[in-house]
């Protein structure tokens, strides 16, 4: 494989990794906040993509501007899901039942999208993002650059929220020790709801990005769930930074494999890494002390 | 003779060294006690010895055999049993089924025989009668009171016929009458030849029951001897009172 091909694959992979990082940070939040494996996260991602698509088609709004509408909506939906559904599950079988419940949500969304929007591929092209910039002989498509930029900014924003703000500290406290958090006066129910809401808000942003960079169809979310799960397992559960590192790493590898061996093999490497991590180091590689086993 | 000993056993969690190069011996036929302030590493020590966590360094020997990093069920088969600090039973199984899960080494044939294997059921009932909850045989474990669950947990451990029994805070959260009963039970079982290692915070319980006590502080043993010797040891007083 030639050097330029390698560099091209690497660059594209890294750009994709940015989106993966944003999405896996959402997943990490759900798991940390409620110990819920939100299998429906990619489904919501695609729901957001469809919403962006239809808003753009119907109102002519710039797809990236639709974020202004979708983010608050998804945020509210996230709170609703946590308050009305997830909190109803019995704690002793939470791990199992939450997967099944979110799985049901994913089915609902996929089915609903299929009925309303049919299975044909959709995609948005924006006039200002159809070309590419060349950097050191590597072509970087502008739409993917924009997508990476938005994802990166959002990711950093979330990271800062978690680290710096009072709410972020309350959230982290609730993640680490819910009982202790309650004892110091944190309203853990509210915190959990908001944590979930933030998670879904990242899906809204990711969806807008997805709408402009790649074609999509309802059943595609299953591919994403495998990739995202692999990323957070490799990165280490409960660690937002770990997931980001793993996302960039795996995205880069996927990119290189894609240009050399094709899309199928590119998809398979995620599963390879997933199984290898489970066999060798189930608590993940980049999570540090926060990382734990499911 | 030595029934359990460890050599330089070490385990750290992040920056906290829970068990710090512990070399210690416990003799058989005794009721050994293991005491120490909170965070001194007692439960971690139990978890290391029973294989539930792997040590960072060091070795564990049971009956002179090295069992370091063995999986827990293999260690159980060498004749070791343990109870948990927070009493653990199988909530949705009946009391009797809870007893029948405990396995000594079984042959494949015995695995697929019905649960009603008479010899084992008889044995289970005998133990249940001995601890006093035989009338609850068909109740689901989660419907038992806390004290009854503690007794069930102990009885189930005994089903596997262990020669060394590790008790993690057997008197924790239990009323005085039941504490007395547990102490009597331990004494009787000890008289029948079983060795005990008891972690406890209840000093009366430990001092009245145990014939040999080891004191842990900050991950290592700081004193050992008879209850009387321990109670007058300056290092022990310092560790507990933090002077």
């Amino acid at each position: 494989m030639s050097g330029s091909l390698f560099a091209q694959g690497l660059a594209l992979g890294l750009l994709a990794g940015g989106l993966y990082a944003l999405l896996s940070s959402g997943l990490t939040l759900y798991f940390g906040v409620m110990r819920v494996v939100m299998v429906a996260h990619p489904a919501f991602l695609f729901l957001a993509a469809y919403t962006t698509y239809f808003l753009h088609r119907v109102t002519g709004m710039d797809p990236l501007l639709t974020i202004v509408a979708t983010v608050p909506l998804f945020f509210a939906v996230g709170i609703g899901i946590q308050r009305l559904l997830v909190s109803r599950l019995a704690p002793e079988s939470l791990a199992m039942m939450s997967v099944l419940l979110t799985f049901a949500l994913a089915l609902l969304i996929e089915g609903g999208l299929g009925v309303v929007a049919t299975g044909s591929y959709r995609s948005i092209t924006v006039e200002y993002a159809t070309s590419a910039v060349r950097v050191f002989g590597v072509a970087l498509p502008i739409d993917k650059l924009i997508g990476f930029g938005i994802a990166a900014v959002t990711f950093v924003a979330i990271f800062l929220i978690l680290r710096v703000t009072r709410f972020g500290k309350a959230l982290r406290a609730t993640i680490q020790h819910p009982t202790a958090a309650m004892l110091v006066g944190i309203d853990t129910n509210r915190v959990r709801g908001i944590g979930f809401g933030i998670g879904l808000a990242t899906a809204a942003i990711g969806g807008a990005v997805l709408a402009i960079i790649d074609p999509f169809f309802p059943a595609a979310h299953w591919d994403y769930i495998g990739k995202l799960m692999a990323i957070i397992v490799v990165g280490g559960l409960g660690s937002v930074q770990g997931a980001a590192i793993a996302a960039l790493l795996l995205g880069a590898i996927e990119g290189v494999v894609q240009v050399s061996a094709g899309a199928t093999w590119a998809g398979l490497i995620f599963y390879g890494f997933l199984f290898a991590t489970l066999l060798l180091r189930p608590q993940g590689f980049f999570g540090g002390r926060l990382a734990e086993r499911f | 003779m030595t029934i359990l000993h460890t050599q330089d056993l070490t385990k750290a969690f992040g920056g906290v060294v829970a068990v710090d190069g512990v070399t210690v011996e416990f003799q058989d036929t005794l009721i050994n006690g293991l005491i120490g302030p909170n965070g001194s590493g007692k439960t971690t020590f139990f978890n290391l010895v029973t294989g539930m966590i792997r040590p960072d360094a060091g070795n564990v020997f049971v009956h002179g055999r090295e069992v370091t990093a063995w999986s827990p069920h293999r260690i159980v088969h060498t004749g070791l049993g343990r109870t948990f600090q927070i009493c653990r039973v199988f909530p949705r199984l009946t009391v009797l089924d809870n007893m029948l899960v405990a396995l000594r080494r079984t042959r494949l044939r015995e695995l697929f025989g019905g649960l009603g294997n008479r010899a084992d059921v008889e044995r289970a009932r005998t133990w249940l009668t001995r601890v006093g909850i035989d009338h609850l045989e068909r109740a689901e474990a989660r419907d038992l009171s806390f004290g009854q669950q503690k007794l069930l947990e102990l009885a189930a451990v005994l089903m596997a016929e262990p020669s060394l029994i590790l008790l993690d805070e057997p008197a924790g959260g239990v009323n005085p009458a039941l504490i007395e009963r547990i102490a009597d039970l331990v004494r009787d079982l000890n008289a029948e030849g079983r060795t005990f290692l008891v972690v406890e915070h209840n000093m009366d319980f430990v001092m009245n029951l145990c014939n040999h006590v080891v004191v842990f502080d900050r991950g290592r043993p700081i004193a050992s001897g008879t209850p009387a010797e321990i109670q007058s040891d300056a290092r022990v007083l310092e560790a507990y009172l933090g002077v």
């Binding site: 791990a95 997967v99 099944l100 419940l101 996929e110 089915g111 609903g112 299953w222 | 199984l93 006093g132």
Partner: protein
Amino acid sequence: MPNASDLMTGAAARRAAIVVAAAVLLVYPWIAPNSYLRYAGVLVVMYAVLATSWNLVGGFTGYVSLGHAAFFGLGAYGTGILIIDLAVPHVLALAISTVGVVVFAVVVGLAAVRVRGASFVIVSIALVTMMSLIAQDARELTGGSSGLRVPPISADLDRTSNHLLFFNLFAALLFLAALTWWFIDRSRFGAGLKAIREDEDKAEALGVPTTAYKVAVFALSAGFTGVAGGLYGMWFGNLDPIFLFSIIVGANMVIMALLGGVRHLFGPTVGALIVVPASEYFLARFGETQIHIVFSGVLLGIVVLFMPDGIIPKVRVLLRRFGPVSSSIREETQQEFRDRQGVGA
């Protein structure tokens, strides 16, 4: 405590129900009025087998595998490829393919059971998605996305006799699977599995070799599922990688078992009896749209939120409302405590 006569009528009623059901099962293919209903009957029994096999793992150990379709597909493709490419006679192909599935399950199982709970679910999803990708891609072997045609077991088998034959084959397989479940339920192996479900670390601390147990039951379950896959290939004739390695099929297995009740021998069968006709109805009514996926999602959600123990316990509670009042265990022990004043408790 329900009195003796209640117990007897309860057990007798259950036995009668089983006998009636078995009788219906035996005559159904003969009395079904048209070919479609015969086809649907085979489908019901096949899903009953799949759900019961899944329940060997899910019901006993509590490990939820959403990717069991991986073994279904492997069994179908294994059998199909042996018949088509290597001209192996049908029955032998089924046997060899099943052995392959079991071996595969042992290997995968050893890795998969190193994690628990939700992680295990993810691994199972990853497994089936992976197989789906591979199957669609390996054109020379599997015919890729256009599928594979498996020749029928005998040239002069018309549609009716085909349905009849496989109805009975699946029914026999269901009987075997149920028998296996029943045996395990009453054995020490089963007690160990249930202990794993209740408290895996505690089970290990009592001497149960948890990894060996989990892999064993995983392989057993995969074996039955693989046989069902092979039979499906021979019956349906057409192998399509998207259906065979479908997460939806795997999800349906779980839904059926959960709906019927995972702690009961015929829970999964009851689940299949409810879900399969319902989804066939949806398919007939609304055609090829994705409404049946919505239906699956709604059903799964309802079961998880409102009846995680399945429909059978709910029905029992309903029936018990019409029976004599029974006393609780607690009352009984209180009574006995008073009788045994000062002794024990």
